[in-house]
């Protein structure tokens, strides 16, 4: 009787081991890349109920971020403005613009506009806006150049590893107080010196311990 297995069959286990290893690497690699916040979250740009353009308001018109996001300097949360803030201007400007219909409706009925959250940290992370503003971190560092976005999207992965790049070496990111809302910021020539001075002055020591962000 002829042999059932040819001699080359001796190599099958080897092939199997290689295939399984490759598959394993492939699966891990797949999730590593496709499951990462970098892949999943960066570029997230949902349709908002109102076509609000940050480019127009913050960019072209030059309205300060804090005109709307008023609590960013004092609270953990940077608030999304109430309809009232929109209506401060829009009772006079664009009063019949169809894109503002929802805003007017909200103002008239008292029902809130339901915005879609873009920058969403996991519930076990407790980010504090005011602490970062105090330290001199610009809005742009986490949110990107919002003033250039017609429709806001997530620019950074907001993963723990990404947070830690700054928490471990804040000196590249610390800005002068008046530069915090500046977009397209480039570190000035004296950044290293300035950062060194401020870090001592303000006692900036960003936590790298778990308790810094997780409670």
């Amino acid at each position: 009787m002829a042999q059932i297995f040819k001699k080359s069959a001796n190599l099958w286990p080897l092939y199997a081991v290689i295939a399984v290893t490759l598959l394993g690497i492939g699966v891990v690699g797949f999730f590593w890349y496709f499951g990462s916040p970098q892949y999943l979250d960066v570029g997230y740009r949902p349709q908002q109920p109102v076509d609000y353009s940050h480019k127009l308001h913050a960019g072209d018109l030059g309205i300060d971020c804090r005109y709307c996001h008023t609590t960013v300097e004092v609270s953990a949360k940077a608030n999304v403005p109430p309809t009232e803030t929109c209506m401060n201007c829009h009772t006079l400007i664009g009063t019949d613009r169809p894109t503002l219909e929802l805003v007017r409706e909200s103002w008239a009925t008292g029902n809130s506009i339901e915005w879609v959250r873009i920058h969403d940290l996991p519930d076990y992370s407790f980010f504090n806006h005011s602490a970062h503003i105090t330290a001199g971190i610009g809005c742009e560092s986490c949110h990107g150049n919002v003033a250039a976005m017609v429709k806001v999207e997530q620019k950074e992965p907001l993963s723990m590893g990404w947070c830690l790049t700054c928490h471990r070496a804040p000196e590249q990111f610390i800005r002068r107080r008046d530069q915090i809302t500046t977009m397209n910021w480039t570190p000035p020539a004296d950044q290293a010196e300035f950062a060194k001075k401020v870090i001592i002055e303000k006692n900036i020591n960003p936590p790298t311990d778990c308790s810094g962000c997780h409670r």
Binding site: T71, P82, W115, V116, Y124, F126, D209, C210, S211
Partner: protein, 982 residues
């Protein structure tokens, strides 16, 4: 008998099982996690579970990888001063019967999440007790009544208003004939105003006071003694000698917060040169106050009354000397001690005692010059504690047309022989206002759902006459009505808002002109500071003598066939009002450590005579009534006295209350808190009690360190020196922890009374779930802070000590060394932190923890929370999932919030800025927390005291929490007596 925890010649034990060292107890201890703790239990079998898991994995693959879309819903018009992420605080007032406690309520985005004491209020002084801490859960209780109902079907408030308008004209005509109101005791300007109006509009109507834990005797005794309607405020801080006559002023009496605070002041010993107060107590069953006592006598209620007369005779207050209930030598030593401290001693009697006893106690305090010094008296024109008799309502039930129950629960409270429920059903119109669809509501024709005090406007009066305001934190969740709204409707047939009703009262109090000016300040502070009502009163000797003569106290000799039953308020439900509160139900009783139940407490000697063991179901027969209840043998209980905790044993009340414990009201006499002539017969069956006293046992090590004041003076370093060990060296290279903030805690065992306030405060602050009786019985309770209780000394009359234990934040933490995934590790400030998201649930850390303070989420306890319960969660703390370990974090969220706040202001933290939840609640200020790296901080100073010791410090784990050893201050004369006897 196995060797118990020995130190300083004392042996400590946690339970009688431990003394007996039964094989069951051994095996319970030796299993790291109690039996079946890791196996799947009902109702989901393991196979079922795997099936479900398979399905959910399959579904998981189908859904998108993106996180679910979250909406941001901003205000349309933002309220002024509302900053998202920053909580706001409002002053309000919680009431318990006639007592008021000022509170400060934390509100996150418009929902109350935490209650603290109001520093400006004389009855809370910034502190709380367990009940106040738990009140916030009651607001969100999904079992609350949610609408008005008429004859069992849902109705509208307007229907009731229409109904009452008709009735109102009928009753105005008849001047209240056939109308009765049943309410609890109260002291409130607004309620009192409406009460007066009611009396004038309906002079023929009756008003009945139904308060199960009544202070009627206290007020009546004082009224007889002084001839005036007064309330007594006790200043324990000024007292050097305290004699408590069955008064649990550190636990369940209404003055417990100020009691703890004041008493602790007299017990704060910084060096061996300091003085310390002395507490004598006579009581029937162990109370937390008993645990703090230096001398304790176990007496039956009958003996206590006679003991008061013995003391009074010895002091020369009463001339008709009665027989000696207690050894005269002991009494003489006590009397000498009292006389030595005129104006600096205090004698208090509990609410269970008769009016006669209270009037004698007043006279005793007068003879000791305590009145005006350690006890002050205050007039309270707004107090209503007595009314028409409920017996008359029962007798004339069929003649009554309408009865209105205001927040009380007379059907459940109905005592032996009364059977109020049957009589109640005979009344034509039965109207009830209550938070829950309780026993009375079930029998009512109209039920109005009540608003919680955090949803109401109102006012209340403290013992010293200070008026405080009740202001709402939230709109009534179910549009409930307050008692002022209902009472106003009843008297005037006008449907008014409680704010307007309150306003009317305050226009009188403040006079209209100054109202606008002062009202906002009063609301902000929570108290009307100008209102003081201190008065000087004198004893009316004749009246006291008459009352004493008229109250009969013939001695009964108790035996196993003639037992005395004592009814005491529950640490879980008070009088039954908190019965559906999961936090309180699950918190182990301070004394018995029973969770989710009440039991008949029996002394070891009596139990042996009766052949009853703990967990035996027994029948108690008294006065022709029978009650089946589980027995619990409690050392320190007076012989032949059975103590029964009121407020439990409900049916169709709520998902927490139902099935927990036994209803003991069926045995309770209507005019007294004790009854004799009871018999006990075992049923032969047993009952499962979830008792935490053996959980997390710590194996005979000197955990509690205790000495008498005299021993301490001789050897001030006794506590740290109690354990001898070789020089400690670590296997690891130790982290220095010398920079920045280094957090540490010190707990003074000498002032901790074991009142459980910290346990509930921690639960409220840190979103600690409740797990249910079955799980507690398996040792899976989740409390981050547990209150260990130990007995020592004589088996029948032991001493009791408490030790609050939470994570000790060891610098060389054993848990960290065994975690395979680095889910628990140290931060630079010395916190042992727990990263929930990394935890894979091996539970190695808990195995290796010498203090047994880690808690594991065996199930996803928080998953099925009703929507409203989610609202009580602290948004600053992660809600944990199944399969992760958790434990005390030193309130890291509060540390971070304070640090960020300080940094935003460009400064460093000042001492006392970070306050942990347990520390904030502790009425005795036993817990101190702060930066141990700051030589000037309070915690550093406290840790430098010579009583400071680290529990299990010999393991070189370097705990950040240390304890100050307990001291007792026995009277040397009595010590000598006992020595000569033995």
């Amino acid at each position: 008998m196995k060797e118990m925890q020995k130190n300083n010649g004392k042996e400590y034990w946690r339970s009688l099982d431990q003394i007996a060292d039964t094989p069951e107890f051994r095996s319970f201890l030796e299993r790291e996690f109690p039996e079946n703790a890791s196996e799947m239990t009902n109702p989901v079998t393991r196979r079922n579970f795997l099936g479900l898991m398979g399905a959910s994995i399959a579904f998981a693959g189908l859904v998108s990888c993106r996180k679910p879309v979250q909406k941001i819903v901003p205000y349309v018009k933002a309220p002024e001063d509302m900053i998202p992420g920053i909580p706001k605080y409002y002053a309000s007032t919680a009431t318990l019967g006639s007592h008021a406690y000022g509170v400060l309520v934390e509100s996150h985005g418009g929902r109350p999440t935490k209650i603290e004491g109001n520093e400006k209020h004389p009855s809370s002084l910034g502190k709380t007790n367990a009940f106040l801490q738990a009140e916030v859960l009651n607001v969100y209780d999904p079992d609350r009544a949610k609408s008005v109902s008429n004859e069992g079907t849902d109705a509208q408030w307007s229907d009731f208003v229409a109904f009452w308008k008709e009735k109102h004209s009928q009753f105005t005509e008849s001047r209240g004939e056939g109308l009765a109101v049943i309410s609890g005791e109260f002291s409130s300007p607004t309620l009192h105003r409406l009460y007066e109006t009611f009396k004038s509009v309906f002079p023929k109507a009756s008003w009945v006071i139904d308060e199960p834990v009544s202070y009627k005797n206290v007020y009546q005794g004082l009224e007889t003694a002084t001839g005036k309607r007064v309330r007594a405020k006790h200043h324990f801080d000024k007292a050097k000698v305290v004699l408590s006559i069955d008064n649990d002023f550190l636990g369940l009496e209404q003055e417990s917060i100020t009691g703890n605070k004041g008493f602790a002041k007299g017990r704060k010993v910084e060096t061996e040169k300091d003085e310390m107060n002395r507490l004598y107590i006579v009581e029937s069953s162990f109370s937390v106050t008993g645990s703090m006592s230096d001398h304790r006598k176990r007496l039956s209620q009958n003996q206590i009354e006679r003991f008061v007369r013995q003391i009074a005779s010895a002091l020369g207050v009463l001339t008709n000397a009665s027989e000696n209930v207690v050894d005269p030598a002991w009494v003489n030593a006590l009397v000498k001690d009292l006389k030595k401290n005129p104006g600096k001693s205090i004698v208090v009697a509990g609410h269970r005692q008769t009016a006669a006893t209270h009037s004698i106690v007043f006279a005793i305090n007068e003879s000791l010059s305590n009145n005006g010094n350690t006890v002050t008296y205050h007039s309270d024109p707004y107090l209503v504690h007595d009314g028409d008799s409920i017996a008359d309502v029962i007798k004339n039930a069929s003649k009554l047309d309408t009865v209105i129950v205001l927040g009380s629960n007379p059907v459940y409270n109905s005592t032996a022989g009364q059977n109020f429920g049957e009589a109640y059903k005979k009344i034509k119109n039965r109207i009830t206002l209550s938070l829950y669809k309780d026993e009375t509501a079930a029998l009512s024709t109209w039920h109005i759902h009540q608003a919680h005090f955090l949803e109401s406007w109102g006012d209340a009066v403290a013992v010293d006459g200070t008026i405080s305001t009740i202001q709402p934190l939230i709109q009534p969740l179910y549009n409930g009505k307050t008692n002022t709204e209902v009472l106003n409707l009843i008297t005037s047939a006008e449907d008014k808002d409680c704010h307007d009703i309150l306003n009317e009262t305050w226009q009188d109090i403040l006079k209209t002109k100054t109202l606008a000016k002062n009202w906002r300040r009063i609301l902000h502070d929570g108290v009307h500071a100008e209102n003081k009502s201190l008065i000087t009163v004198k004893a009316d000797g004749q009246a006291i003598n008459n009352l004493v003569k008229s109250s009969d106290i013939s001695a009964t000799s108790l035996s196993k066939d003639n037992l005395e039953i004592v009814f005491y308020p529950s640490a879980k439900t008070y009088d039954g009002r908190y019965v559906n509160n999961g936090w309180l139900q699950e918190a182990p009783d301070p004394v018995t450590k029973i969770s989710w139940d009440n039991a008949a407490l029996i002394s070891p000697k009596t139990a042996e005579e009766l052949g009853v063991k703990t967990r035996d179901l027994v029948f108690i027969n008294v006065g022709g009534k029978e009650l089946e209840i589980v027995a619990h043998v409690l050392p320190g209980q007076a012989d032949y006295v059975i103590s029964l905790e009121v407020g439990m044993g409900r049916k169709d009340y709520g998902r927490i209350a139902d099935g927990a414990g036994f209803n003991v009201n069926t045995l309770k006499p209507s005019d007294s808190f004790s009854v004799t002539g009871a018999r006990i017969t075992p049923t032969g069956r047993t009952y499962v009690l979830a008792n935490t006293q053996d959980h997390s046992s710590m194996e005979n090590r000197p955990l509690i360190r205790e000495a008498t004041l005299e021993e301490y003076k001789k050897d001030p370093e006794f506590a740290p020196n109690m354990v001898k060990h070789p020089p400690l060296k670590s296997l690891w290279e130790e982290y220095p922890y010398t920079e920045g903030y280094q957090w540490g805690m010190a707990i003074d065992l000498n002032t901790c009374s074991g009142c459980n306030a910290c346990v509930i405060a921690c639960q409220s602050e840190n979103n600690v779930p409740i797990v249910g009786k079955e799980q507690v019985e398996k040792g899976r309770e989740m409390h981050w802070m547990r209150m260990d209780r130990y007995f020592s000394g004589d088996l029948d009359n032991p001493e009791m000590v408490y030790q609050p234990v939470a994570c000790q934040h060891c610098e060389n933490a054993p848990c960290e060394q065994v975690c395979p995934v680095q889910a628990t590790l140290h931060d630079k400030e010395g916190l042992n932190v727990m990263t929930y998201n990394r935890c894979v649930g091996t539970r190695y850390c808990s195995n290796n923890c010498p203090y047994k303070v880690r808690r594991f989420n065996f199930f996803n306890y928080t998953k099925d929370y009703p929507e409203t319960i989610k609202m009580v969660q602290n948004p600053d703390v992660t809600v944990r999932f199944r399969g992760v370990m958790e434990k005390c974090t030193y309130c890291t969220q509060r540390i971070q919030a304070a640090k960020i706040g300080a940094k935003n202001e460009g400064r460093t933290l000042v001492d006392g800025e970070v306050v942990t939840a347990c520390q904030q609640a502790c009425p005795a200020d036993a817990i101190v927390f702060g930066n141990i790296n700051d030589p000037e901080s309070k915690v550093t100073k406290v840790k430098q005291q010579n009583r400071n010791y680290a529990m299990l410090g010999e393991l070189n784990v370097k705990p950040r929490t240390t304890y100050l050893a307990k001291l007792r201050n026995p009277n040397p004369e009595i010590v000598k007596q006992t020595e000569t006897v033995s």
